[in-house]
Symmetry: C2
Amino acid sequence: MQTTNKTETKLSTLKTHLTQINDLEAAASLLYWDQATYMPPGGASARGRQLATLQAISHTKFTDPSVGQLLEDLRSYEETLPYDSDEASLIRVTRRKYERAVWVPASFMAQLSRHRAEAYEFWVKARSENNFALVQPYLEKTLEMSCELASFFPGYEHIADPLIDFADYGMKTSFLRTLFAELRQQLVPIVEAITAQPTADNSCLHQFYPENRQLEFTIKLIKQLGYDFQRGRQDQTHHPFMINFSTGDVRITTRVYENELGQALFSTIHEMGHALYEQGINSDFEGTPLAGGTSSGIHESQSRLWENLVGRSRSFWQFFYPQLQAFFPTQLKDVSLDKFYRAINKVGRTLIRTDSDEVTYNLHVMLRFDLELQMLEGSLEVKDLPEAWRERYRHDLGIVPETDSEGVLQDVHWYSGQIGGMFQCYTLGNLISAQFFEAAVEEHPEIITKIEQGNFYTLHNWLKEKIYQHGCKYTAAELIRGVTGDTLRIAPFIRYIKQKYGQLYQL
Amino acid sequence: MQTTNKTETKLSTLKTHLTQINDLEAAASLLYWDQATYMPPGGASARGRQLATLQAISHTKFTDPSVGQLLEDLRSYEETLPYDSDEASLIRVTRRKYERAVWVPASFMAQLSRHRAEAYEFWVKARSENNFALVQPYLEKTLEMSCELASFFPGYEHIADPLIDFADYGMKTSFLRTLFAELRQQLVPIVEAITAQPTADNSCLHQFYPENRQLEFTIKLIKQLGYDFQRGRQDQTHHPFMINFSTGDVRITTRVYENELGQALFSTIHEMGHALYEQGINSDFEGTPLAGGTSSGIHESQSRLWENLVGRSRSFWQFFYPQLQAFFPTQLKDVSLDKFYRAINKVGRTLIRTDSDEVTYNLHVMLRFDLELQMLEGSLEVKDLPEAWRERYRHDLGIVPETDSEGVLQDVHWYSGQIGGMFQCYTLGNLISAQFFEAAVEEHPEIITKIEQGNFYTLHNWLKEKIYQHGCKYTAAELIRGVTGDTLRIAPFIRYIKQKYGQLYQL
């Protein structure tokens, strides 16, 4: 009786403390969201400082030895609970995050925050001016700091492992290298077979589509897919993202190009996929470390599942295309569903990762992954990165960027403060999305017909039940095992690609 | 040498610590701004908690004994510096705020934050349902907590004094009672003389003015007045306010009624007045307690100066009315400047403080001030407040609200968590605005002509130099003395009212 009361007090002390940290992190997220949407230019310098302050305070609070003591004191209680009970999961997941966080000194975190803000500013400038040299010293510093960050974690197998582990807990460089090599082997012949054929015509997407109408359509679309606007909103930004401040406030951002319909459409569905995950998390987890996606790879599997497996499918547009045509009658009245479907699934050897198709996308990702490893291993210097980039594009995609803006400067990731662990999640997400979708359709074969009828409930509900609600109660590996009864596999993705593009390109 | 270095270290430690607190407060402000502008309904409950967390953390950090020790250690250094040097001012103002803050336990602050959020929610509901009973228990708790808050400050003369002191440092109930009695004595005969005449016709303001056009016009207007959109922005909200996150990011909010042109016009100019003050603060003060308006009364003097002494003047509209007419030709082509000028300066015995005219406005304020004092003194119970409100409106304004929504529930102040110190600033602001404007025009008589020409530079610059730049380096009393060579006076306001309304109503 005495013990139970003490345990309850300790658990409640831990929860209160974690909620404080959660609130600081939510405030930092809002500072970021505002910076990316509405902040006037004059706010920039103070904003960087404010973000660094909040991150330093929450890091210090989280790594306070009292947290470690509470977790230690709760260990025997945890062992009496079922593994997947909410309380055991809270203690376990907190311990995992705590044990990782305590390796990193708060002073380093603060320094890193400041460097990130600065590097980002210079990347924006460098990219718009196509001037890699401008950001090179910052990227060198980033590489140095990434190595230092990794070095805080003793006993790693590969220097990238601790960095990968932040985003995709449990993943290792050695495993990913094998996985990616296998994927490449299976993918390259498909890419070659498709690109040997005449390229698809996607000019229908490049007519003039007014910004407001595009925004209106995407909002209408994602409402029908299940995004809850009572617990979210959509705003415009330069680089779309999903962000949440609580389980009741999960926002997305999008961008609109008036001569490129695909941008708003698919970036909106993509971010909505991330948001459905967060909106579907058990609201009892609010304010605790359980309230969040379990890994970057799993998160990306949800955005890619909705964007690609659903949002680029023929079944999906069988339902939505008449709505789209009604929205843009001048532009689309003479474009058939088949023509549109081919346009949004055009495959090509292109330069920009985020605009690339499902088939070549992983090639873009894997070359970045390799370059990250080379930099961390010391076999590639930052100054030689642009040339290495061009070389890999020549080799892997048969195309070379004419400018660094379209090359090594295109993605924010390295310039926002870390080299290592930044890209594997995209390919993991693609693989997992196919594996999950296959499992969903196996259990509910009617899902495809329902999609054709504009009914997304069965799929959404299955995802909620199997994945979303759990937040980060389960690790990615546990979740994949629980949902599919198997480990992470390449086969479902290859099957999906072969079937879809086999039909499209009569392979 | 050794001493100097130690002092420098201490000062720099203090500054770093203060900047951390500033950043937490800025984050809390952003949480609030977002809540009032873009937050989806689902975010509300977590948001209240997040705000309370940030406020509790910043309060705890600010009242840390190490801050007191640093301030103590810096005392001898401070004494070697000129009173109004930046460093002496920083130490002095921080000490003043610290000495006030340490009286209040952090646990009370956290409890108050939570109560505020809850009381606010119930006020929103109570007002929309015209149901005072719904919010009464929360208001009782607010009264209790306000008394408790005051009780932390030993040796006050009147229980309201500590609460007034938060907003208007150095002001006391006894002084304000005398000041307000004198003002009332001079004001009542003017109100009676005006309201004995036929009421002005302001129907031209109550035509249909499309929301977007109104917003467009207000933005165009305040740009010309000197509001810097590179360091600010305007968004819509229910209850307009100004808020800032740094000296480089000072935002305003406004509301638009499509059948009431005056709302958007004057609430925008009002909030812009607050914003010009904050935008004009010396940017060297960024991140320190010096970066902010020095008191609520002085802040309100700036909003009212721009809203009324400038924005409701004939000179102002001599310049802007043609622009307004061009914006709304259908509505205003047959309305002369004189007619418009009379419309926007209509005087009447009305129910709503924020919509009331310059002449009667202080009557609305002073009755609230008295009711606050009665509640704090224990001579008025919260349950009797609605009746006391009606009685005071009958007595002071000769009009009685039919509903509590138009009566005691109209203002958010008491329901957002404090009774006492909430209203005096409005009348102080009115008085000071006239006193400052008189001083400005005395020094630069050309100001009026410049306004007629749409040139606001001379006035804006004078305000920047005399008031804005100093932030809260000087107290309100010091500032008034410095700017006008006198103490706070009623006479300039009465002169202004008599002259302007004497002409309008041929008194």
